[in-house]
Amino acid sequence: MAARELALTALLLLGVSLVVFVILNLSPGDPFSVLLEGQAPGHAARASVHEALGVPTTWYGRYLAWLGNIARGNLGTSIRTGVPVAGEIARAGPNTLYLTLGSLLVTLLLAVPVALYSASRAAGALARGLRLAVYLVSAVPVFWLGYVVIYLFIHRFGVFPLLSGSAEPARHGWLYGLLPIVVLGVANGTVSEVTRHLRGELGRVLTEDYIRTARAKGAPVWRHAFKEGFLLPMTEMIASKIPFVIGGAIIVEQVFNWPGLGRMVWQAAQDRDFPVIMGIALVAAAFVRLASLLRAVIYAGVNPRTATD
């Protein structure tokens, strides 16, 4: 099983890398022209760059060269800065991981209580109100919310809520670190769906006949309801929403000047710095894949029968 999953993951990453590479090559702009900014480059200059760097001239040649590097565990170096991509990802990655996981936690802290409450009291006015609030919150464009929050902090609380913008180590630095996490958690657009899905599934499980029977007999319902009504839909939502959270992280990192992968990939996208883009795409795809594997494991764990038949 493990070998199969590993092979599938490798295949998926290969596919992602190919697609990203092709898109990069179809989009206008030569990745190596960033080296020629500042001069009016003729054809000769362009060719000489390729020659000087020893890059294949065809796109598939470049892709294969890149693949060859990957096979040797080398993610290549950024065209723009010359820095090894793997090292940069290792430096910026934890920041983004912190941001995305933290924001997922915020999302869940928001969505789960609302879902639980409104699953048990679907018709209550408070439950409706809460749901409406949750829906509103997840329809806010994330960067705009970031602006609003920063504006509030500056003009209401008199602080500049950015870690890397303050001249001195901030007194409440940890708080500023929390802000982007909260903003992303609230406005990554997934709060509403997590709430809806969780509430739906939980509501469904709680009304299933055997749960009703069990409850009538006084048997503990929570264990089953937890597994089918909570654990499964939760992992499912997290697994399917990870790409959105990652996308939101790119925005939040710009607004809050967060030194993570999102800011890196944004700069790289401007310059068509393909080794960086590819490296980050791989990491992101692996992350998404990991989430869906986790989902599969939890599914199998909750329902041992699935793998048997």
């Binding site: 099983m1 493990a2 006949d209 494991v297 939890i298 764990g301």
Partner: protein, 334 residues
């Protein structure tokens, strides 16, 4: 009775069970026998009751008989077709003759389909019919299971338990089944409705000449509907014979305890609590010889004879006359 419709010979089934959530990752499994050498026959128009505690393998037998679950070994022959040797595709034509009533009331009912669609699907599954013909057949089915035609527009969740069961039965009849595995058909229903369903099944048998493999842990119901009864204990049949004899003149200590506890307590709930007190058989480290020995009062009373725990002499079914067979070294006297 009439000619044999179903013959089951030395059926075995092992399950691969995993130990916990992490086992999914390293894939470690252990083998658990659910059915361990079971043989019996069923004639046309006959009802064979299959009783035993939950987990004894009776549902597994029902599923294997219908070809839903593959057997580990052994043979199932239905009407001359060897079910255990057929591929799923080849099995499909036989489906119109053999069907199952599931324990789960909702099993047969797709929650998004109206009763009318559920029935139409079953009716048209094996026969191409005109619209009018479908309508005629639908109302005929409703008639047979005593369901109001107003229910046709309902979704499953709008039905009561009894109605769901009736729709389930109608669905099975719709494909034209003549052999039905009824897996705990009354277990999820109120007592009053249980009676209606039992009577309905018996009426249908009379009217349509059906054969049932009737699986239940409810001895009262089994005794009521069955012509013959097979008693299972931990994957094996310990006693089989005419319903009256098994119930009233059981020869196996286990059967006897089952029915006497029924007589004494008459209460489903208490009986189950009593059973729980007996402890659970550990399949991973099976006992030696007779499986029932650790719980057997006769074995205790006889001073724990060695033959009962001799691994080479697990008791097999022996004919004790009047169509009754028992698997015990020391069968009870008449």
């Amino acid at each position: 009775m009439a000619r044999p419709l179903l013959e089951v010979t030395d059926l075995r089934k092992q399950y691969q069970a995993r130990a916990g959530m992490l086992a999914a990752l390293h894939g470690r499994t252990r083998s658990v026998p659910a059915v361990d050498g079971v043989s019996f026959g069923l004639s046309e128009h006959e009802t064979l009751g299959l009783v035993g505690e939950s987990g004894c393998g009776k549902t597994t037998i029902g599923r294997i008989v219908l070809g839903v679950t593959p057997a580990s070994s052994g043979r199932v022959v239905f009407d001359g077709h060897e079910i255990t040797a057929l591929r799923p595709r080849a099995l499909r034509p036989l489906r119109k003759q053999m069907q199952m009533i599931f324990q789960d009331l909702d099993a047969a009912l797709n929650p998004r389909m109206r009763v009318r669609d559920i029935l139409r699907e079953a009716i048209t599954l094996h026969h191409r019919l005109e619209q009018t013909e479908v309508a005629r057949r639908t109302s005929e089915l409703l008639d047979q299971v005593n369901l109001k035609s107003a229910k046709l527009a309902s979704f499953p969740h709008e039905l009561s338990g009894g109605e769901k069961r009736r729709v389930g039965i109608a669905r099975v009849l719709a494909v034209g089944a003549r052999f039905i595995v009824a897996d705990e058909p009354t277990s999820a229903l109120d007592v009053s409705i249980q009676a209606q369903i039992v009577n309905l099944l018996r009426d249908l048998q009379t009217r349509l000449g059906l054969s049932y493999l009737f699986i239940s842990h409810d001895l009262e119901v089994v005794e009521l509907v069955s012509h013959r009864v097979a008693v299972m204990y931990l994957g094996r049949i310990v006693e089989i014979g005419p319903a009256e004899r098994v119930a009233r003149a059981s020869r196996h200590p286990y059967t006897s305890i089952l029915w006497s506890s029924l007589v004494e307590k008459r209460s489903d709930e208490v009986a189950r609590n009593g059973a729980a007190a007996w402890g659970v058989f550990d399949f991973e480290r099976p006992g030696q010889g007779c499986r029932f020995a650790p719980r057997c009062p006769v074995y205790e009373a006889a001073g724990r004879p060695a033959i009962c725990t001799d691994p080479t002499s697990e008791p097999t079914l022996r004919d004790v006359g009047d169509g009754q067979s028992v698997a015990c070294h020391f069968p009870l006297a008449r």
